[in-house]
Amino acid sequence: MILKKLSELQKLIDNKPVKRLVLAAAHDSQSLGAVLKAAANKIIKPVLIGDEKEIRKLALEGNYDLEGIQIIDEPDIEKTSEMAVKIANKREADILMKGKVGTSTLLKHVLNKQWGLRTGNLLSHIALFEVKTYHKLIAVTDVAMNIAPNLQEKISIVNNSVACLNMLGIEMPKVAVLGAVEMVNESMQATLDAALLSKMNQRDQIKNCLIDGPLAFDNAISLDSAIKKGIRSEVAGDTDLLLMPDIEVGNVLYKSLVFFARAKVAALILGASVPIVLTSRSDSEQAKYDSILLAAATVK
């Protein structure tokens, strides 16, 4: 399947049971707005945990209807995270979302050994972009969680991301392992890891995707550029997933896509027992809404 717009994610959840989303520290205007809008569109059925008085005030200001929405009054932010994670742990919610709580606080509870959402997999971040200048949606990982992943961590990040893209109906996502160059260079670890990942994929040690790398950004997304460089690659120019060498490159690419290319984005944390919507304050309400949509489409 080829998805061109984030709004097409809607097709994937039509005629499926409405997913339950729990929002930790729901007294946050942007995330509350996105959640209530998604609820109104029947994408999710939310549980809001937070300062009820504040939630009602924000809903009134934003002109949102709280009719029939479950609210658990808990003004203590730390406790909202714990409760939200426990709800997801008991499978009473399909999606966890971060509201007005720090990322580290929420993740601390997600990683709790007794009642957290661990699966044994590494947690990783995926961002799915709709860019006008590319012929389909393109995912980028990891721009927010793993700082300088080693080979083993890169394998986990790819596996997380591929499972997510498979859920979206992209059966054999094409994965470009990015480097500064498309040649193998012993002084550039990213190019060496890329070669190893390619070989593991060839030997079926990383499945359900097609990996090539190192590829420079231009060869990864432009067939023309790959041809000019004489690169023969099934991935070049048709990439579904860009694997970043580290968070610095990833984060800068993410932000340049948003700010320079005016790309739309949806993002998730993968690797936990439920998808986690963990957008940052600087993300637009639309990004938050699209992230909820992405989460709903990837619920197992």
Binding site: L196, R203, I231
Partner: protein
């Protein structure tokens, strides 16, 4: 395309400009036997540097006419090494061959930074072309003799040398198998890691011309059925031209096994030098020794 070592020997005979072979400390039966045969078969001109009376004595014993050789008397093996390397360096000889001199003294002269024969920054390695009746083509293997535990750069050099040799035999795009115990990529096996990196280098044209895959075991590399049974998707699948081994201790017993149990013959030489250097073990068969000289004659020819 040259598909057997007999054919190799035929091709390099009777050339108009016969290569000049300089032999270092050439007075033992092994060396003189092979060199004498190559001269008789009109393959080379031989320049023997050694003890004249010893050379004459050995020739007589082998029934070789002394006029087959150009003999230069030298007092000792170190002098012989310096003289012969110098001769090749100045262009008066085209090929260098080790005689009775110790390998360490011989290589010292070859590797000498100022007066030696190494190409700039090159790795010294040894490549063999092996002819075994039970394999459907010639097999180029490396490194049987020089590099004990090649690192990535050295493995790349080994592959490049073997490719260079295979191309000389007329194989336009040799299939290179990087040999391991299994086909899986594991970061715990440095060879597997090196191999994965090399495959990508080959894919990107950084090692060429070739089709490369590895790690592969010998079965996957040289036996088509195994590749089918195992279901491993490899472009080499049972049709390897070149086998790159992870270590000398893996490669050396492999080739000796082929010689002894597989009734194979070989032609081998040092690579990384400015001119072909023939260096063979005394235990090789007469035929293989002759093929080593034939190989050097092929490799000395300039590419058109």
């Amino acid at each position: 395309m040259i598909t057997s070592l007999d054919q190799l020997a035929d091709i390099v005979k009777n050339k108009k400009d016969k290569p000049k072979l300089a032999v270092t400390w050439a007075q033992d039966e092994n060396t003189l036997g092979a060199v004498g045969k190559a001269v008789r078969e009109n393959m080379i001109e031989a320049y023997l540097y050694g003890n004249r009376s010893m050379i004459e004595k050995t020739s007589l014993k082998l029934g070789l006419d002394i006029d087959l050789f150009n003999i230069q008397h030298v007092d000792n093996e170190v002098e012989a090494a310096e003289e012969t390397v110098g001769l090749v360096k100045s262009g008066e000889a085209d090929i260098l061959m080790k005689g009775l001199i110790g390998t360490d003294k011989f290589l010292k002269a070859v590797l000498d930074k100022e007066n030696g024969l190494m190409k700039p920054k090159a790795v010294l390695s040894y490549v063999c072309a092996v002819d075994v009746p039970d394999y459907h083509k010639l097999l180029f293997i490396t490194d049987t003799a020089v590099l004990p535990f090649p690192d990535l750069d050295q493995k790349v050099a080994m592959a490049e040398y073997a490719i260079e040799m295979a191309v000389k035999f007329g194989i336009q795009k040799p299939k290179v198998a990087l040999i391991g115990a299994s086909e899986k990529m594991s970061k715990h096996f440095q060879n597997a890691v090196d191999y994965a990196i090399m495959c990508k280098m080959a894919e990107r044209g950084q090692i060429s011309p070739c089709i490369m895959d590895g790690p592969l075991d010998i079965f996957l590399a040289c036996d088509k059925k195994s590749a089918e049974i195992k279901g491993v998707d490899t472009p080499v699948a049972g049709d390897a031209d070149i086998l790159i081994f992870p270590s000398l201790e893996a490669c050396n017993p492999f080739y000796k096994g082929l010689m002894l149990f597989g009734k194979g013959e070989l032609a081998g030489m040092l690579m990384g030098t400015e001119v072909p250097v023939v260096l063979m073990s005394r235990s090789e068969s007469e035929k293989s020794k002759f093929f080593c000289i034939a190989l050097s004659c092929l490799m000395v020819e300039k590419n058109n």
